[in-house]
């Protein structure tokens, strides 16, 4: 087996001083599917950016097809036959599919103008030869996620890529769509392509990969045939210690309902009916997990619950009091905490210090301020204590958030939300993109909050997380709640998958009737 890509001693230092890659060595063999796994912040993305020419290493050598190469930019990488499909799809929304496909390699006539005829020819023949059917003349913004990803793959193939890098491609797909993707990848491999596959979903890695490289803390730890390592072993190599995959203990006692959502509807500005008649409740002492592929209304639901978006109709009640369409501050005053989906965009102010981030929900209360004057001494002490209690790795309370790693930033968010003495916690994708160690800590904190009688509403696209932590599970699809289950050993990924894809509805899934023990209307 010849080696198509060889990385030797790659070192990368970012301008802010962070050393992302500390001497990485990897050999990728031609015609294999090679997975790269590691916690977030381990350095996988940086490594891929170096291969694709988006970053240059400070030290190290890259050999492609046996020859030493210096990949100065993406154009050179593409010319060499390297293609990359990023985690966040990279298409220009107002341009058509065809325009997106030929962008950068536009055929011209009379040296100056776009040759529309050649564009259609080129894109149509690519569709045929690779077997991907995409609507060439539609604007990208009007297409669903699965189609967009196929366009991305076609974009890479049309440029004659032989080495294809996929960065967390399944994070936006359901289990069934992932199968379709894997089928395509196997077909591409059969056609002679080499695939590098970045993922933190170890099940998938075991499913599709031939070889696995584990990266931890900027260094490559091991490269091995995928079938020689178990998921558990891979996880341990990623983290460097024992970790648990077990479901957490059932709650000892569950109280009365704290949050009640009744017939919630939301229609957005483009007149799309995002949430359709959502009703559920969260009781004290339980963790209600809402499972669903991202983009089925969860984001809007959480925004409505926390006052960041107005509902179109319906009611939300806390302890019997209606809180529908109250402001974020009023809702927080009702003892609701919110761990947001996108911590960098909503959860923190990156350039501010930790203490300025901690006080955003309490600065106007005594003793944080008096008569509108902030008590920085008290704020500093308060923050220092939280840093200690939550094990946040930071120099001081005045350290800016930008100096912290992803996991520690999430700890700041969680520290703030949990220290606000809430009765309801809304956690939206709380462990997305953080290291396993921090993820464990977040789960432990949610469990501890639950055991103290707090109601927890967990929204997550990570089925492992839901299965591990939730007391009850809701599945949301296309704005509707399509299933509700008590969480026990019989609930698995395979069982929830069809509901998440809308293949099974409440009526059809009657053989495994959800909530058979209660007469509640779902």
């Amino acid at each position: 087996m010849e080696t198509i890509l060889s990385l030797k001693n790659i070192v990368k230092v970012y301008p802010n001083g962070v050393v992302a890659n500390k001497g990485i060595n990897i050999d990728v063999e031609k015609n294999t599917i090679h997975a790269i796994v590691g916690e977030n912040g381990a350095g996988k993305s940086t490594l891929m950016k170096i291969i694709f020419g988006e970053e240059t290493p400070q030290e190290g050598e890259i050999y492609y097809k046996g020859k030493r190469v210096h990949i100065k930019n993406s154009l050179e990488a593409i010319a060499m036959g390297i293609g990359m499909i990023h985690q966040h799809l990279m298409l220009a929304p107002e341009l058509t599919v065809a325009e997106n496909l030929i962008l950068g390699t536009e055929p011209v006539k009379w040296k100056l103008f776009l040759d529309k005829k050649k564009i259609m020819e080129k894109t149509e023949s690519a569709c045929k030869s690779f077997g991907f059917e995409v609507p060439l003349n539609k604007k990208v913004k009007d297409l669903p996620v699965g189609t967009k990803q196929r366009i991305e793959i076609l974009k890479v193939l049309i440029r004659n890529a032989e080495l294809i890098i996929l960065d967390e491609p399944t994070s936006v797909l359901t289990p069934q769509e992932t199968e379709v993707l894997f089928k395509s990848l196997r077909e591409l491999k059969a056609k002679g392509k080499t695939i590098i596959f970045i993922s933190h979903k170890l099940k998938e890695v075991k499913q599709i990969a031939d070889r696995v490289t584990i990266i931890r803390d900027g260094k490559d730890i091991a490269t091995e045939d995928a079938n020689k390592l178990s998921e558990h072993q891979i996880a341990e190599l990623m983290v460097g210690r024992e970790i648990s995959f077990e479901r957490i203990e059932k709650p000892k006692s569950i109280g009365e309902p704290l949050l009640r959502v009744e017939n919630l509807h939301y229609v957005n500005d483009e007149n799309i009916h995002i949430l359709k008649d959502i009703s559920f409740e969260v009781r004290r002492g339980e963790i209600l997990g809402m499972a669903g592929v991202e983009g089925n209304g969860q984001t809007e639901l959480v925004e409505i619950l926390t006052g960041l978006r107005a509902a179109t109709s319906g009611r939300i009640l806390i302890k019997g009091t209606e809180i529908t369409n109250l402001s974020p501050r009023e809702i927080r005053e009702k003892k609701v905490a919110h761990i947001p989906e996108d911590r960098m965009e909503n959860g923190v102010a990156e350039k501010s210090s930790i203490e300025e981030n901690i006080i955003v929900d309490r600065y106007y209360k005594k003793p944080f301020s008096k008569n509108s004057f902030l008590n920085w001494k008290y704020i500093g002490n308060h923050t220092t204590k939280l840093i200690k209690d939550f094990n946040i790795l930071a120099q001081s309370s005045k350290t800016p958030i930008s100096a912290l790693s992803g996991g520690n930033i999430q700890k700041v968010v969680v520290a703030r939300e949990l220290s606000s003495d809430p009765e309801l916690i809304i956690a939206d994708q709380p462990t997305r993109g953080i290291d396993v160690g921090s993820e464990e800590m977040v789960h432990a904190l949610l469990k501890e909050a639950r055991d103290r009688g707090i109601a927890v509403f967990l929204v997550s696209a990570d089925l492992d997380e839901i299965l591990k932590v939730a007391t009850r599970i809701l599945v949301i699809y296309n704005g509707k709640i399509v299933a509700e289950f008590e969480n026990n050993e019989s609930i698995t990924q395979e069982k929830l998958g069809p509901y998440m894809l809308g293949v099974t509805t409440k009526e059809e899934g009657s053989t495994n009737k959800p909530l058979s023990t209660e007469q509640k209307e779902v």
Partner: protein, 307 residues
């Protein structure tokens, strides 16, 4: 009132509108191109000042219209290049850098005006040239249309060519496609190997190119001298004009036409003996009102009834 109403409804009014629209449409095209590329250029005010001044000075000293044209355009493109360098290479905030450039242009043109014309107000002591106006044969004799469309300055006729060129550039050339891609999703462009900074730099150069014609027109067509800060905010009204039109060719044209109409209107109601300060404030008040209405419309959406 009657004679004023008559004059507004006459072909002379349309003629004036087209004339007045010219120094708004040129910079509006410039703003639009950079806005489409995602790096909006608000320094068209300074760009027009520099090209106006350069054109006047070079024409006074060389007596050659073509050389003056080239010099004026070079000045505009040069300003665009400086803005591009500071924003793209040195990572300056594009708004602040543009404000600095506008300030620079205002200061340096008055400074040099004094040095060369010994007057801080206008350059009228110098013999600068003017771009010619043309009566178009046959067209000029057609009733109504003739007086509207014939007799304009060559730079006014050229602005229509410029808009069409803008249309072709954006929709029919690879550069235009890349500009739009870069503006919509720079990461997407990067992923196919497009150098986002280079495309934005080109857009800034192009904005300097188109904007410079506006400046040249002001000092060598609209009037025949350079006076301090003669752009009078047109570079900023151009921003309003192009954003009204969503930065696309047809919309930018219509937006500029609107402000041309308002300016012409202000000129035509002068005989009403309304204080000049009021009349001069009309274009700016209108811009505020129009932009406000535009944003109100944009943020209001009709909600469908829920089943």
């Amino acid at each position: 009132m009657n004679p004023i109403l008559k004059s507004i409804l006459s072909p002379k009014f349309v003629f004036a509108t087209i004339r007045v629209m010219t120094p708004i449409l040129y910079p509006a095209i410039g703003v639009a191109i950079t806005a489409l590329a995602g790096s909006i250029n608000i320094a068209l005010e300074g760009i027009m000042l520099m090209s106006a001044f350069t054109g006047v000075m070079v024409s006074a000293y060389t007596g050659n219209l073509l050389i003056s044209l080239i010099a004026g355009v070079a000045a505009g493109v040069g300003m665009g290049a400086i803005l591009g360098y500071f924003h793209l290479k040195l990572k300056a905030d594009i708004i602040i850098a543009a404000i600095a450039l506008n300030m620079f242009a205002s200061g340096i043109t008055i400074f040099l005006l004094y040095l060369f014309a010994h007057d801080k107000g206008t350059s009228s002591s110098l013999k600068s040239l003017v771009f010619p106006s043309f009566q178009i044969p046959i067209l000029k004799d057609i009733p109504i249309l003739g007086p509207m469309l014939s007799g304009h300055n060559i730079l006014t006729y050229f602005v229509f060519v410029a808009v069409i060129a803008f249309y072709y550039l954006i929709y029919k050339t690879p550069l235009g496609l890349r500009i739009r891609a870069v503006g919509q999703n720079p990461d997407a462009a990067k992923s196919v190997g497009i150098n986002v900074d280079r495309i934005r730099f080109y857009s800034l150069l192009l904005s300097g190119f188109f904007g410079s014609f506006g400046g040249l027109y002001l000092a060598m067509g609209y009037v025949s001298w350079f006076s301090r800060d003669m752009t009078a905010g047109r570079g900023f009204i151009a921003i309003a004009a192009s954003s009204l039109g969503n930065n696309l060719p047809l919309g930018t044209f219509l937006g500029s036409l609107l402000f041309g109409l308002v300016n012409a209107f202000a000129i035509f109601i002068a005989p009403l003996k309304i204080p000049s300060e009021f009349i001069q404030s009309i274009p700016y008040v209108t811009t505020v009102i129009v932009l406000a209405i535009y944003s109100i419309n944009k943020s209001r959406k009709v909600k469908k009834e829920i089943e």
